[in-house]
C-alpha cells in the first residue's frame, strides 16, 4: 500500500467520494504536499524564467535563439563532441576514483585511512577557479612545476600539457571525485554483507565477489553518482574557461559563459544552450529510473541486523596503501602546496632562493584586513549550513515519495528537482531578482534570497543522495512499523531517516561545501553587508591579486576541512548506529 493513490480511487467511485476526500487530508498528505510545493516552487521559478527568455522573440513565441546559438559559425558539432568527451571522461574518472576510494575507506583494512579520507575530500573544498589555476601552475608547458622541476630536467622536454582534453578531464575528474566518494560511502556503509558472505562461502574469489555481488548491490548509488558526475561536468565552467580556452577547446558551458559575458547579454542563446543541457539531463534521469526499475533487489537494509564486514586485503594491502599515498600526492598535495606557496609570495613565480626570501604572511593580512572578509565568512557558514539542512530535509521527504510511492506525477517531481543543475547560475540569480523585487516579503536585500538561491541550486544533489539511500532500505521495515500502529510521520522520522542517515549526512556535507563555493547565482543578488566568501574570491580573481586569492583559498580549505572532519566523526557514529 503506497498511499496517495487512494486519491484517484476515492474520486472515481462516487459513494466513496467523501471518504476519499477525508482520507486525502491526512497530516501526512498535507506534509508531503507542502514539501512538494516547496521543491516545485524552487525549481520552477528559474525554469520558467529560462523558458520565457529562450522562447520569446520580438513577436511572441520564437525559436530564433536556437538559430543564434547553433547556427552559422557556432561549430555546434565540434562543441558537442568536446562536451561529451569532456563530460564522459571526467565523469568516468570521478566515478571510478570516488568509488574505489569509498570502497577502500569503508570496506577494507587498508592503511592510511586518514590520508585516504583527506584525499577523497579536499579537492572538493578547493574552489574551482583556484583548483584550475593551481593546475595551470603545475601543468603549463612553459611554467608548470611538473615540467620545470621534473619533466624537463629528467627528459629534456615538457611532458605535461594541462591545456588538452586529457588535462581538462584530469582536473575536472579529480575535482569531482569527492562527490562520487560521498555518495558511495553512504551506499557501502548501508550494505548487508550476507550476500557477499554467501558468495565467498560458495568459493568465489574476492575480486569476483566485488564485481559480481558488491558493486551490483550498490547499483542505485552508482547510477545516481554517474548521472550527477556527467551532468555536473557538462555544466561546470571553471575548467573549460581557464584551461580549455587556451588552445581553443570549446564546450557547452564556455559558450554559455561567452553569451553571458558579452554585452548586451543574449539570454535567449544562453537559454538555448542550457535547454539542450536540460534535455540531456532529463534523458539521464529517465535512463537512471529505468535502470533502477527492479527496486527491491537493491534493498539491502532489512529487518536483519548486520554489520558490514571488513575485507582483509592481505598482500594487496601494501599496494592499496601505496596507491592511496600516490593519489593523495597528486590530487591533494600538489595543488594545495602550490596554493600555499603562492599565498606566501607577493606575485607568483617559480621556486627560487629569492622567492623563498620574499615569503611573508602579507596576503593573509590583506585578505582579512577588511571587515567584509569576516562578515563574508560568517554569512557563508550560515548559508551553507542552512541550505544543506533545508535541502536534505525536503529532499528526504521528496525522495521517499519518488522511491516508495506510486503517486501520479512523482516522475515529474523527480525530473523537476533535477532541473536546477543545468540552469546557469546567472539566470537563477536573475529569476530570483525578478520575483523577489516584486514581492513585499522581506527577501530581497536579505540573506534569505541567497538561502533560496543556494537551496535551489542544491536540490538535485540532495535528491540523488537521499533517494539512493532510500532505495537501499527494505520496504518490510516501513511496513512492519505501520503494522505495529506507527503513524507515517513516526515511521518516517524513526525508521527511514535514521536508516538513510549515512547518505543524508553525506549529502549534507556535500551541500555545505559547494554552497561555500557557489558564486554565479550569488553575484547578482547579494547586498552590502550580505557578502559571501565566494564573492570575495571572484572579485580577487577578476580584478585583484592571485596571491591574495590563494590566501583566501587556503583559509577556506582549512575551515572546511575542519568542518568535514567533524561531520565525518559524527557520520562514523551514525554509521555504527545502523549496525547496532
Amino acid at each position: 500500500m503506497t498511499g496517495l493513490d487512494v486519491t484517484a480511487r476515492g474520486l472515481a467511485g462516487s459513494p466513496a467520494f467523501l471518504l476519499g476526500l477525508r482520507r486525502l487530508f491526512t497530516p501526512r498528505n498535507a506534509f508531503v504536499a507542502v514539501v512538494l510545493a516547496v521543491i516545485g516552487y524552487l525549481a520552477a521559478v528559474p525554469l520558467v524564467y529560462l523558458l520565457v527568455g529562450t522562447f520569446s522573440g520580438d513577436g511572441g513565441f520564437s525559436l530564433s535563439a536556437f538559430g543564434r546559438a547553433y547556427g552559422g559559425n557556432a561549430q555546434a558539432g565540434q562543441m558537442m563532441v568536446n562536451s561529451l568527451v569532456f563530460s564522459l571522461g571526467s565523469g568516468a574518472l570521478a566515478l571510478v576514483v570516488g568509488t574505489a576510494l569509498a570502497y577502500v575507506q569503508v570496506r577494507t583494512d587498508a592503511p592510511f585511512k586518514g590520508l585516504l579520507f583527506a584525499a577523497s575530500m579536499v579537492p572538493l573544498i578547493v574552489p574551482g577557479v583556484l583548483y584550475a589555476t593551481a593546475w595551470i601552475f603545475l601543468g603549463d608547458p612553459q611554467i608548470g612545476l611538473l615540467n620545470t622541476l621534473v619533466s624537463q630536467p629528467l627528459l629534456g622536454t615538457s611532458l605535461v600539457d594541462i591545456y588538452t582534453l586529457p588535462g581538462m578531464i584530469w582536473v575536472e575528474g579529480t575535482h569531482m571525485a569527492p562527490l562520487a566518494f560521498l555518495l558511495m560511502v553512504g551506499a557501502f556503509r548501508a550494505m548487508d554483507p550476507s550476500l557477499e558472505e554467501s558468495a565467498a562461502m560458495s568459493g568465489a574469489r574476492p575480486l569476483t565477489v566485488l564485481l559480481r555481488v558488491t558493486l551490483p548491490l550498490v547499483r542505485p548509488a552508482l547510477i545516481a553518482a554517474g548521472l550527477l558526475m556527467f551532468v555536473r561536468s557538462l555544466e561546470s565552467f571553471e575548467v573549460p574557461t581557464l584551461l580549455g580556452l587556451n588552445k581553443g577547446i570549446y564546450v557547452f558551458t564556455s559558450r554559455i559563459y561567452f553569451e553571458l559575458r558579452s554585452y548586451p547579454i543574449d539570454y535567449g542563446a544562453a537559454g538555448a544552450y542550457a535547454l539542450s543541457l536540460l534535455a540531456i539531463a532529463v534523458a539521464g534521469v529517465l535512463l537512471s529510473n529505468y535502470m533502477n526499475r527492479n527496486a527491491r533487489s537493491y534493498q539491502t537494509i532489512s529487518g536483519k541486523a548486520f554489520r558490514p564486514r571488513t575485507v582483509e586485503l592481505g598482500g594487496a594491502r601494501r599496494w592499496v596503501g601505496g596507491a592511496t599515498v600516490l593519489y593523495f600526492l597528486l590530487a591533494v598535495v600538489l595543488p594545495v602546496v602550490v596554493l600555499v606557496y603562492a599565498s606566501l609570495l607577493k606575485y607568483y613565480r617559480g621556486p627560487s632562493l629569492e622567492a623563498l626570501r620574499e615569503m611573508s604572511l602579507d596576503n593573509y593580512r590583506e585578505a582579512f584586513a577588511s571587515a567584509n572578509a569576516v562578515t563574508a565568512l560568517r554569512n557563508s557558514l550560515i548559508l551553507a549550513i542552512g541550505a544543506a539542512t533545508l535541502v536534505m530535509f525536503i529532499t528526504s521527504v521528496a525522495s521517499w515519495l519518488v522511491v516508495r510511492t506510486k503517486v501520479p506525477g512523482r516522475r515529474l517531481i523527480d525530473a523537476l528537482s533535477f532541473t536546477p543543475l543545468v540552469i546557469p547560475g546567472l539566470v537563477l540569480g536573475l529569476s530570483l531578482l525578478f520575483v523577489y523585487l516584486r514581492t513585499p516579503l522581506p527577501v530581497y536585500g536579505t540573506l534569505l534570497i541567497l538561502l533560496i538561491a543556494f537551496s535551489t541550486k542544491n536540490i538535485p544533489y540532495g535528491m540523488q543522495y537521499a533517494s539512493s539511500s532510500m532505495r537501499q532500505i527494505s520496504m518490510e521495515l516501513e511496513e512492519s512499523a505501520t503494522v505495529f500502529g506507527a503513524s507515517w510521520w513516526t515511521t518516517f522520522r524513526r525508521v527511514l531517516l535514521p536508516l538513510a542517515s549515512s547518505g543524508i549526512l553525506a549529502g549534507w556535507v556535500y551541500i555545505v561545501i559547494v554552497s561555500f563555493r557557489e558564486l554565479s547565482s550569488a553575484i547578482l543578488i547579494y547586498s552590502p553587508g550580505n557578502e559571501v566568501i565566494s564573492i570575495l574570491i571572484w572579485q580577487q580573481f577578476e580584478n585583484g591579486s592571485f596571491t591574495v586569492l590563494a590566501a583566501i583559498g587556503v583559509v577556506m580549505i582549512a575551515i572546511l576541512t575542519a568542518l568535514v572532519l567533524l561531520a565525518n566523526r559524527l557520520g562514523a557514529r551514525v554509521g555504527l548506529q545502523q549496525g547496532a
Binding site: 595551470i136 554585452y263 577588511s370 536573475l430 552590502p528
Partner: protein, 375 residues
C-alpha cells in the same frame, strides 16, 4: 553513550534549531535596505544643489548628506578601489557607504531589474562608460552639475553622468622574456613574427578588438589589411580568462606579452615586484593607448540624493587622489583633456559600445578561427 531515543530527540532538536536559526539570521536585512519606495523629490534635491553657487554647494550637500546618514553605491570598480573610495569618503564625512560591487555589466543588470520593479537600491553609480550610459539611456540618472566638474572640459559631461576616471588599454610584456629594444612598439607590431607563440589574448576583450579595428580603419587601413593583422596576431597565441590571472601568468613567464591588458593591473603587479612592464626604459609608452573611461552619476530616485551628489563632487575632487593611488586615470585624462606624460592616448570609440554584440561575435569567431557569419 546516550540512549537511542535521547539521541533521536537531540537530532530532531538540532535540525529544528538549525533551520530556525538560519531563517532568523537570513531574514534580518543587511545594511542596505535594498531599496524601498522611490523617494519623492530626489531629483529636486539634486537640482537644488546644482543650482547653488559654487561656494555654497559643497557645504549644503555635506549638511544634507549627513542628515541622510548613508550612501548606497553600486560600482564596477575593483574591490580594492571600491574599498579605498568608501573608506576615504566615510573618513572625511562620517557618512557610511554601503557598496555593491560586481562587474559593470552585472551592476547594470541589477539596476535595470530594480528599476523595472520600481525598487532602486542605489544612490550613486561608478561604472564603465558603456554601462553608465545605458543607465542614462533609461532616464534614471539626475545630472551632477557641481563646481568640481567646472574644471573639466565638455567631453567629460554627458547626459546624466560625468567622466571621473578610467584606465588604459595597452600591451604589457614580461621583462625577463622580452629584452630591451624588443618590446612591441605599436599595435601593428603585435603581428610581427617575433611574437609568434609569445602572445596571450583575453577571451572577453572584444571591446578592445572593436576599438583597435575601428582605429585602424580610421587610419585608412583596408578591411583586408586589418583582417591580415588580426590573423597574424592570433596565430599561435594563447587565450586566457581574466585580466589579473593573465598578468600573473605573464609575470610567471607563461608567455612574453599580453596583447592587451590594463595599465592599472600591470602597475599593481609592478608594485609587487613582478617582472612586467608597459613602459620602455625611459618611461614612455610606445603604443598609442586606448582610454577606457569610468563615469559617476546620481540616480534620480535616490534614497539619499544629497549623499549621491556629494559623492560625485568628492570623487571628482579629493577622490582623484584615491584613484591615483590605485593607478587609475584622473578625470581630466579619462575625458581626453590631458594626456599622461609619455603616452599617446586614443579616445575609446563610442561606436564600439553601440555595436558591442557584433564585435563580441567577431572576436569570438577570430579566436575560434572560423569565418564571421552575417557579413
Amino acid at each position: 553513550m546516550l540512549d537511542r531515543s535521547t539521541r533521536r530527540g537531540a537530532a530532531g532538536v538540532a535540525v529544528t534549531v538549525a533551520l530556525a536559526l538560519t531563517v532568523a539570521a537570513c531574514g534580518s536585512p543587511g545594511t542596505s535596505s535594498g531599496g524601498g519606495a522611490a523617494a519623492t523629490g530626489s531629483s529636486d534635491v539634486i537640482d537644488d544643489l546644482n543650482g547653488l553657487s559654487a561656494g555654497e554647494q559643497r557645504d549644503e550637500a555635506v549638511k544634507q548628506a549627513k542628515e541622510e546618514g548613508e550612501l548606497d553605491l553600486y560600482t564596477g570598480a575593483s574591490e580594492g578601489t571600491a574599498n579605498a573610495l568608501s573608506e576615504a569618503f566615510t573618513e572625511q564625512f562620517g557618512i557610511k557607504v554601503n557598496v555593491f560591487r560586481a562587474s559593470s555589466e552585472d551592476v547594470l543588470q541589477r539596476v535595470l531589474q530594480e528599476s523595472s520593479a520600481n525598487r532602486l537600491g542605489a544612490d550613486a553609480l561608478f561604472l564603465s562608460q558603456a554601462t553608465i550610459s545605458s543607465v542614462a539611456d533609461e532616464d534614471l540618472l539626475a545630472g551632477y552639475e557641481g563646481s568640481a566638474a567646472d574644471d573639466l572640459g565638455a567631453d567629460a559631461q554627458h547626459d546624466g553622468w560625468t567622466t571621473a576616471s578610467g584606465y588604459l588599454y595597452l600591451p604589457v610584456w614580461n621583462t625577463d622574456r622580452i629584452t630591451e629594444g624588443n618590446e612591441p612598439t605599436s599595435w601593428e607590431d603585435l603581428a610581427d613574427p617575433r611574437f609568434d607563440g609569445q602572445l596571450t589574448l583575453e577571451a572577453s576583450d572584444s571591446d578592445w578588438f572593436g576599438a583597435l579595428s575601428t582605429y585602424w580603419a580610421d587610419q585608412g587601413k583596408s578591411q583586408e589589411e586589418i583582417d591580415g593583422l588580426w590573423a597574424d596576431i592570433v596565430d599561435g597565441a594563447s587565450v586566457a580568462s581574466g585580466h589579473s590571472t593573465m598578468v600573473q601568468l605573464l609575470g610567471a613567464g607563461q608567455t612574453g606579452v599580453n596583447a592587451m591588458n590594463y595599465d592599472y593591473i600591470a602597475a599593481g603587479a609592478q608594485d609587487d615586484g613582478a617582472p612586467v612592464a608597459y613602459q620602455q626604459a625611459d618611461g614612455s609608452v610606445p603604443t598609442p593607448a586606448f582610454v577606457y573611461p569610468f563615469g559617476v552619476g546620481a540616480l534620480g530616485q535616490a534614497e539619499h540624493p544629497a549623499a549621491a551628489w556629494l559623492f560625485a563632487d568628492w570623487l571628482l575632487d579629493e577622490g582623484q587622489d584615491v584613484l591615483a593611488d590605485r593607478h587609475l586615470l584622473s578625470a581630466a585624462v579619462a575625458a581626453g583633456d590631458e594626456a599622461p606624460p609619455g603616452v599617446t592616448t586614443i579616445p575609446f570609440p563610442t561606436s564600439v559600445d553601440e555595436d558591442s554584440k557584433d564585435w563580441a561575435d567577431r572576436y569570438d569567431a577570430l579566436l575560434r578561427g572560423v569565418p564571421v557569419t552575417g557579413d
